[in-house]
Symmetry: C2
């Protein structure tokens, strides 16, 4: 037991920190936003509701599976409202909720920062890679 305690304590400490990190609201938000397709979907809907098919054309990079998966996740989190109109063919609209709309300005800020500063990042990266091989 004493021989295990050191490793055990480290493991416990790590689990603890992982929990804290997972519990941190900011990290949880970044987890969502870090998702490959979620930001694209959000932006696609910023100008107004769209139907599934229109979304799949706007976010053309995403496979059917990933698009649906992303939509479900965003709906579950309360960022999207899904409205299904029965009939044949089926018709489903997706729209941003007020919650999502309150997030858009932040995404815009990020986009602005990115547009202004990513070139710097690119140069830094190129320089770094040159110093190496």
């Amino acid at each position: 037991m004493t021989t295990l305690s050191a490793a055990a304590r480290r493991a416990a400490a790590r689990a603890d920190h992982l929990d804290r990190a997972a519990a941190c609201p900011a990290n949880r938000l970044l987890d969502r936003l870090g998702d490959k397709w979620a930001p694209l979907v959000l932006r696609a809907l910023a100008d107004g509701p769209l139907r599934y098919n229109a979304l799949s054309r706007t976010v053309a990079g995403a496979s059917q599976k990933m698009l649906t998966q992303t939509l479900r996740a965003l709906e579950r989190d309360g960022f999207l409202r899904r409205t299904a109109a029965p009939g044949v063919p089926a018709r489903v609209d997706y729209a941003l909720t007020p919650l999502a709309e309150s997030l858009l300005p932040l995404l815009d800020s990020l986009a602005s920062w990115a547009e202004e500063n990513m070139p710097r990042v690119d140069r830094s990266r190129a320089a770094y890679d040159t110093r190496r091989g």
Copy 2:
């Protein structure tokens, strides 16, 4: 060839959109920030430079490998400055660059939004899961 053209065109269109998405500065930024450990490291260094070991304690959830990997990536992108002092034992400091510091306010904004709104997300999620099984 005609039998392939439809699928081929779809594939091309998808590749095209993928390229565009990958080229978008905002997406590239979110890719970095979506990284599991990068935001934690950035926040850990917000109060001042830290040595490797101090970082590994602050960001205790990360394995050695992931911490090093994250630090390298951030350094390459010009967010971190790495200062190695020769000698035994070795001593290495990591500090934010002005570029990274200019990003901190945005991260703070995100954190504020998250703190205020993530509870809402949690409730939405719980409600969604209740409606289902």
